[in-house]
Amino acid sequence: MKLLITGATGYIGQQLTALASTRGFDVICATRRPCSTAYSWVPYDLLGPAPDCPSGAKAIIHLAADTSTGAHMSADDEVQAAQALIQSAHQASAKFIFISSQTADPAASSVYGLTKWRIEQAVLAAGGSVIRPGQVYGGPEFGLFGVLAKSVRQFPFFPVFMPAPRIQPIHVDDLAVSILAVVDRDDINGEIFNVGAVQPITFTHFLKSIALYRVQAIRFPFPVPVVLLRALVLLLGQTISTRLGLERIFSLINLPLMNTESSLTKLGIELRPISHGMHRSGHGQRRLLIQEAVVLLSYLLKKPARISLISRYVRVLERANKTCSIMASRLLVRWPILLTLLDNPNILKTPQGKELSWRLQVALSIAEASTQGATTFIGTVQPRSFACAIAALGFTLVKELAWHIPKLVVRPFVCRLFLNSEPARDV
């Protein structure tokens, strides 16, 4: 079965072609530059004529778009290109699937959103399907996600727009699965599918997730009032603002929320949690659990735990069907001693702390039942002088008392700082 994909070498295109070919599709890439030799290639430019759709093709998937900020081509050109493709699909009696945007709207603030909407209308009129993805992320660092990931990697700060825009992320692989679901379904005609997280998250949360799970670095929030940005646009004028990418920020801020639940249900798609999707592998669970094990065990043992203990911890959690880590901070990974801030009854008794309390118990038992733990827990089998023992006890007490001050200071927000409330939200 053949699939003709425009923009197949782009961010979404690469993931889609790879998935489609593993699913047994014969992929034809319609792109400007030659694609990987693993697929067939037909030269195609949005400004040129539409390629001939081979007979027996199942569908044309239209991903190509002019994303350059400069005025490379006009909106009308893009709409015309789409119409030509629709025509081509029609002649080969193939499906037509257009990957649109969450910004598509007749009253969109950006040209980009308006163009998408116009193409949508043409697609729907011809009985094709439209997929509107939310913020696409994960996989290789291309597209807007690539820009964001690179800037989080580069700068110690990340902007917190106030008020914070809300987005509905979707992992690029989940989007590819959604597209192929539409390809496979013969009962779908002339419909719009909204795909993205059902519960929107703030853009700040999204950037934080990039820092935490992708870049794995500590990044500090930097507040940016939206009012200031608007003032900047007025000051610089429309053209310069567009060139600086400010227009893109505004399309983010003005993003209409989508109802994605019914589309996802209809297509039978379950989105992965963002904490997993942000990882390069796209599946962060086990890795995060390992990280959690490292933190808990080295907190208790006061030295890096052996690999056997770490894998034992992960096995216990996976057996208990707890596949998500609850730790949400790189700080803890770097300094497991910071867990002291959380390890007190006031926090462990809270609903959020209870899970941590159980995991600490598990780590405690695993740490003790090892030769490594034996020395830490049982103590010396050699006699020590009385004075030495007293001094050691006193020193421990001093350390415990010293931690009371930071414990008190961070208590109101320590859970939010270190613990992940996300598994609950994803469910």
Binding site: S365, E368, A369, T371, T376, F377, G379, Q382, R384, F386
Partner: protein, 524 residues
């Protein structure tokens, strides 16, 4: 239908095996059933505890279990309930016997050997006065005490202040060596022995069913410290050790995996049934030794008696003692069960009994969780402190409990736990007195360490179907025969008329032996 067996014994624990001996010795046909379906974990320490902890890379297999047993029991009251080697002892009891609890810790066993697979080995004899209300010849009971004591092997024989309290020395082996901490406590006690009688306090060696000299295939304790994990010498008594000996008698048969659910009376014979097995067995007499809770349910179900019965248990507490002078003492191999015991008179009617234990063979996790500080520093603190510490427990007499057992309409047994109103005050008094007394012996009862447990945590259950000279429904006669069920005898803790603060296992065994001997004369 004729009965295949003279006697069927339900349960293979201390009570069942003790009742079986006189019967099989007299040549009677005896069937013993228990509900053990799978054996315990094979992962046990191969070397003494400290050496295993330092060197055994696979220690997690016997400390936590390959199926992570210990982590599924994090809330269990006692480390015994978490040990993988004991998992099969407690497994499935409440569900199998349909025991439901409310504010009560209900523990029992379906395993061969019953709860004695995981007991503290505490033994004591009750004086004649405890049986004064019953027409029982105390000499008969005394004979039974001697028989079972010699059979199981008891150590701790020494002339001390508790000799008369335990009353077992004439049948016992010498005591096991004390560790340094206990030796110091005992020395300090002896040095100031004049001050303690006024405080109502007596200290002495614990009398325990642990060998200090070998008996048969069982070796003497070598202080390897694996009491909690699995004694490779079999120095600790367990009723499961009796089965191979009982099987040498031609009339004895043992069937495992048979969970008695109901009794049927048919042509003068009693038949036991198991819902999961097509097999059924019948006998002229039926001895219930399934453990107090299970026995009570079986008897009540067949009586169809739904009135509440009192269930005795000993209110209990635990505490931590610190001997500051011994700070820095190295960890050394030590016996892991009670080393020194005490009797403390609280009021005219209430004496507290308790023992102290070495902390070495215990998982430190137990202590870390009780510390009022973060786990990292708790571990660091205990690492330096615990080698100079002992743990202790306290038991109060059973009349201070206020538990009830009721048969539900669906056939399950509901246990509701409670204490008599004076218990909190008595426990506080015990704590204050013990603090003062141990201080005199150079030990600090650690602040905040004295912890009272929930009803039933002692696992000393007794007295639901007490023996009585004129039994009513819900009671038994002096041979444990259930009123209303002629031919059915209760021989475990359920038929004890009272529960003192002392360990009651030996008394259950002696009473079962006495009933067994009496039945021999009836059946022959």
């Amino acid at each position: 239908m004729t009965s295949e067996f003279d006697v069927i014994i339900v349960g293979s624990g201390p009570a069942g095996t003790s009742a079986a001996y006189p019967l099989v010795k007299a040549g009677l046909k005896v069937l013993m059933v228990d509900a053990q379906r799978d054996a315990g974990s094979s992962a046990v320490p191969q070397r003494p505890f400290l050496a295993s902890r330092m060197n055994d890379e696979h220690q997690w297999k016997w400390m936590i279990g390959e199926d992570f047993h210990a982590l599924n029991q994090l809330d269990a009251i006692s480390p015994k309930l978490k040990t993988p080697a004991h998992a099969h002892v407690f497994k499935g009891f409440s569900a199998g016997n349909r025991i439901k609890t409310d504010n009560f810790i209900g523990v029992g066993s379906l395993a061969t050997g019953g709860l004695s697979n995981a007991w503290g080995c505490g033994v004591a004899r009750l004086p004649a006065s405890e049986f004064s209300s019953l027409p029982i010849d105390y000499r008969e009971l005394e004979k039974s005490y001697e028989t079972v004591s010699r059979r199981m092997g008891i150590s701790g024989q020494v002339e001390d202040d508790l000799s008369s309290y335990f009353g077992l020395d004439e049948w016992s082996q010498p005591p096991l060596p004390l560790d340094r901490l206990h030796q110091r406590l005992l020395d300090n006690y002896t040095r100031q022995s004049h001050t303690f009688p006024d405080l109502g306090f007596r200290l002495g060696r614990s009398r325990v069913a642990v060998l200090s000299q070998p008996i048969g295939e069982r070796q003497a304790c070598d202080l390897s410290g694996n009491c909690l994990w699995n004694c490779q010498n079999q120095a600790l008594y367990s009723a499961s050790q009796e089965l191979s000996k009982l099987k040498q008698y031609p009339g004895f048969r043992h069937v495992q995996g048979f969970l008695v659910d109901d009794l049927l009376k048919h042509d003068g014979a009693w038949t036991v049934t198991d819902p999961c097995s097509l097999q059924r067995y019948s006998g002229t007499r039926l001895l219930l030794a399934a453990g107090t809770l299970a026995t009570t349910r079986i008897a009540l179900k067949h009586l169809n008696h739904s009135g509440p019965l009192p269930l005795l248990s000993s209110p209990t507490a635990a505490f931590l003692l610190w001997l500051p002078k011994l700070l820095g003492a190295p960890r050394v191999p030590a016996f892991g069960l009670g080393q020194l015991s005490f009797a403390l008179k609280l009021t005219e009617s209430a004496t507290a009994f308790g023992s102290t234990f070495s902390t070495t063979g215990l998982p430190m996790t137990e202590f870390v969780n009780r510390m009022p500080m973060g786990k990292r520093y708790s571990i660091e603190l205990l690492n330096n402190l615990l080698s100079a510490c002992l743990v202790g427990n306290v038991f109060l007499p059973g009349h201070l409990s206020k538990n009830t057992a009721v048969l539900n309409a669906d056939g399950s047994l509901k246990i509701s736990g409670d204490f008599q109103p004076e218990v909190p005050a008595l426990m506080s008094a015990a704590e204050a007195k013990l603090r003062r007394i141990y201080w005199k012996m150079g030990a600090v009862l650690m602040p905040m360490s004295f912890t009272c447990a929930k009803p039933g945590a002692d696992i000393h259950y007794a007295g639901t179907l007490p023996m009585h000279s004129n039994p009513r429904i819900g009671q038994t006669d002096v041979l444990g025969q259930v009123e209303g069920l002629p031919g059915v005898h209760v021989v475990d803790g359920a038929c004890l008329p009272s529960l003192t603060e002392k360990s009651h296992t030996l008394t259950i065994m002696a009473n079962a032996d006495r009933i067994g001997r009496s039945l021999v004369t009836q059946l022959q």
